[in-house]
Symmetry: C2
DNA sequence: TAATTTAACTTGTAATTACAAGCAAATATA
DNA sequence: TATATTTGCTTGTAATTACAAGTTAAATTA
C-alpha cells in the first residue's frame, strides 16, 4: 500500500495501534495535537486529519478546550451492521463449523438478488456454516462469493477464521455497507434440524447483499437465526 | 446559532440546500472546489471542510481527478422500510392509524433500555400506531418520546404525518442513528389480534433506541411486524 | 486515421501562520 | 475564606502556498 508514506496515515496508524494495544486505554486522554506534532514531526493540520479519521471511526472523542479521549469499541455491531458475525457475538465461546465446505459452483437461476453478467458467468464460491454457543446451534449461514479474482481463497479460509478478515488480508476487499431483507418465518424441517429446534418454531431470516471496496464485487449471505434465548443486535 | 457566521457552515448549508432542493440532482456534479472558493470568497481548506461534512453525511461522493457528485439519500442507515415480497408498492397506499393517541405518562419500571435520570423524571409521550396496506395490518408500533422540550408536539403530530418530519420541523430534532435488538417470536394473543394473524404465527419483533441531534434525547420504539407477505428492508 | 503525448482540469496531501473559543487551575482580589 | 480574574493549556476556524496524483480531452505524432 503506497499510503504507508502518507504522514497523516502514519499518525493515524500509530494512534489506532496504541488504542488497540491498550497503550491508551478507554477513557484515557491521548496526547494533545501539539504533542502529536512534536512526536511525529508533522504540523497540526496533518495531526488533525489523522484524529478526524479516528473520530469518524469511533475510536476517539474530541472536546474543545479539553482534549481527546479513547472511546469504547462499538460492540454488538454485528449482524445488522458491517461487522463479521464472529465479532458480532463478541464472544470467544462461539464456535463456527462448516456444514458445507467452500466450493465453486454456478449461482442458482432463482437467486433472490439481481446478478451482474460477470457474476453469472464466473459463478460463486458457496459454503454453509453453523455457529454454536455452548454447543447450542444459534445461527445458520449460507454464503455466496462471486468467483472473481479470489485465487487461493478456499485454501486461506477455514472454520477458525473470520471471512471479513480473510477477504481483507488476502484480497484487499473491505466491507463498506449493504442491504438486507428481514423476515420472521416458521422453521422448515431442514432449518429446524440444523438449529435443533421444533419445526414451525419462529426463526429470524435475513437475506443480505454486502457492498465492498472492490468495484462491482458484492457478497451475499442468507441467515437463519434461533432467537429463543438470544437476539440480534445492531447499531447504525 | 452562532455557527451561522462560520464560513465552512455557509458553504455546507448552500450545498446541502441546493441538493435538497434538487438544484443539483442525484448523479449531477457539484461545482469544483475552486469554483466554490470563488463563489463564496473562501479558500480551499474551508471549502474542503464543508465538502467533507457532506461526504460524511452521505450527500456527495468525491473522486480524485474527477470531482464530486450528488448521492441518493440514504433511506436506511438502519432505519427499516417495509417492502413487498411479491411486488413493489408505493408508500401512498400505506395507511397509519393510532391505536392509542399520544399521551404523557411515566416510563414503565421494567423499560428494556437504560434510562437517564431526566428521562425517568419527565416521563414520556407514549402512543401506539398500526400501519395497514390495503386494509391489511402490517406493522404495529409502540413509541416512547421522552417528554423533554416537546411543547406542542401532541397538537402537531397526527396520523397523516411522519414522526421524523414533525420532530425535525417543529423541534429541530434529527435522527442520526441508533441501536436495535431483533427477534423472531410467536405472536401473542394481543399481537395476533392487532395484526389479524393466527396466534403462534411468527412475528418479527424489534426494540429500537434512536439517537438524535439533540444531546441526551433518544427515541424508543417497539415494533411487531407480520412478514408473511412482506419483509423489512434496510440499508447500512 | 489511430495511437500517443501533452495540457488543463480535478481532488489529495502538507507545511505555515494566526487568531478564536472552550476549559481548568493558579492567582489575585474582595 | 470565598469569589473573581488571569494565565496557560486545549481544540476550532481560516487564509495562504506548494506540489502530488488522478482524469479527461485536446493536440501532436506515427
Amino acid at each position: 500500500m503506497s499510503e504507508d508514506r502518507l504522514r497523516y496515515v502514519k499518525v493515524y496508524n500509530f494512534l489506532k495501534n496504541a488504542i488497540i494495544n491498550q497503550t491508551y486505554k478507554i477513557g484515557d486522554p491521548i496526547p494533545s495535537e501539539n504533542e502529536l506534532c512534536h512526536m511525529h514531526s508533522v504540523t497540526r493540520p496533518t495531526v488533525r486529519q489523522a484524529l478526524q479519521k479516528l473520530v469518524s471511526e469511533g475510536y476517539i472523542l474530541k472536546h474543545q478546550g479539553k482534549g481527546s479521549i479513547v472511546m469504547p469499541p462499538k460492540t454488538g455491531l454485528g449482524i445488522l451492521s458491517i461487522n463479521s458475525t464472529t465479532q458480532a457475538f463478541n464472544n470467544n465461546e462461539v464456535q463456527t463449523k462448516f456444514l458445507k465446505r467452500p466450493e465453486v459452483q454456478l449461482f442458482n437461476t432463482d437467486f433472490p438478488f439481481q446478478l451482474s453478467e460477470n457474476e453469472v458467468k464466473f459463478g460463486c464460491i458457496h459454503f454453509k456454516r453453523i455457529r454454536k454457543l455452548h454447543d447450542k446451534p444459534l445461527l445458520f449461514e449460507e454464503t455466496y462469493l462471486p468467483n472473481i479474482d479470489l485465487q487461493g481463497f478456499i485454501d486461506n479460509f477455514s472454520e477458525d477464521k473470520s471471512l471479513f478478515n480473510v477477504l481483507f488480508n488476502h484480497h484487499k476487499i473491505e466491507i463498506l455497507g449493504g442491504e438486507q431483507k428481514i423476515w420472521a418465518i416458521q422453521a422448515t424441517k431442514e432449518i429446524a434440524e440444523i438449529l435443533d429446534i421444533k419445526p414451525t418454531a419462529p426463526v429470524l431470516h435475513l437475506k443480505r447483499k454486502l457492498h465492498t471496496s472492490k468495484n462491482g464485487f458484492f457478497l451475499y449471505s442468507f441467515l437463519y437465526c434461533n432467537t429463543e434465548s438470544y437476539y440480534l443486535q445492531g447499531e447504525f
